[in-house]
């Protein structure tokens, strides 16, 4: 492997940094290196896009489950009792 260049990121390193990048947790120099790697690498650009699509899809899984009526009644009773104890 060629050592003539200052160490630039390879794809193995880049994919391990993706979460830190998305979280804004990469320090500025590392963030720049990561972004420069993306400019050279359509594969990693696709990888990042896939992750973003996955995260967006995951967010649709949070269905608002309605609270069963008997549970509501139980909780309300609990609430009244707890406030009544004051």
């Amino acid at each position: 492997m060629n050592r003539a260049l200052p160490a630039d990121l390879d794809c193995i390193a880049a994919v391990e940094q993706v979460t830190d990048y998305l979280e804004g947790a990469l320090p500025p120099h590392a963030r720049t290196e990561f972004e420069q790697h993306l400019v050279t690498c359509p594969g990693c650009v696709t990888y990042l896009r896939q992750l973003r699509a996955q995260i967006a899809a995951s967010s649709t899984l949070a269905e608002q489950r309605p609270v069963p009526e008997e549970v509501t009644q139980e909780l309300l009773a609990m609430f009244r009792a707890s406030r009544g104890e004051k």
Binding site: N2, A4, L5, P28, T32, Q36, T40, C41
Partner: protein
């Protein structure tokens, strides 16, 4: 200070996704790690994207790792010849790589694997960022750091000349 910046379509900053205003300053968020980023001519081959704009950066300007950073910047004029010229740019990277491969094989001091860089760069057309990178890696493999620097300088020269960018 006059500089250049690559954008996603619509003058959208490629990594933050923030659209720069057509007129007026683009201010960066507060904080030491924030700023607007742009390129001096010699930084351009590291940052390719769809649109290229001439921009103005407000002082003070910091020279960072292959980029310029300022508190705020503004769009001046779009360089119309980009991305029209990106296929030509990539082809020029192929040409220089081909010459390097031929020379190295003629010298006899590189293995046949080295010729693979030519296939790699041909295959990566028209992505200018990938082609520029492969050409630079090939140059480094042939002639070490001086080779790398020479290739990157040739890329800068090509862009400055073809796109008529003011180049000190």
């Amino acid at each position: 200070m006059i500089a250049w910046k690559f954008f996603a379509p619509g003058a959208v900053a490629p990594f933050t996704g923030v659209r720069w205003p057509a007129t007026g300053w683009m201010e960066s968020a507060a904080g030491p790690d924030n700023g607007v980023h742009a390129c001096a001519v010699e930084h351009l081959p590291y940052w390719f994207d769809e649109e290229l704009w001439e921009v103005e950066l407000d002082s003070p300007v910091t020279h960072g790792a292959r980029q310029l950073v300022a508190r705020r910047g503004r769009l001046l004029v779009q360089i119309d010849e980009w991305p029209k010229a990106q296929a030509e740019f990539s082809l020029a990277c192929v040409d220089r790589t081909r010459r390097r491969v031929e020379e190295a094989l003629r010298r006899g001091d590189r293995s046949a694997d080295f010729a693979g860089y030519l296939a790699d760069v041909i295959r990566r057309q028209p992505y200018p960022g990938a082609c520029a990178y492969i050409a630079a890696r090939a140059a480094a493999a042939a002639d070490g750091m001086p080779g790398h620097d020479q290739e990157r300088a040739a890329q800068v020269e090509w862009l400055a000349s073809r796109l008529r960018l003011a180049h000190p």
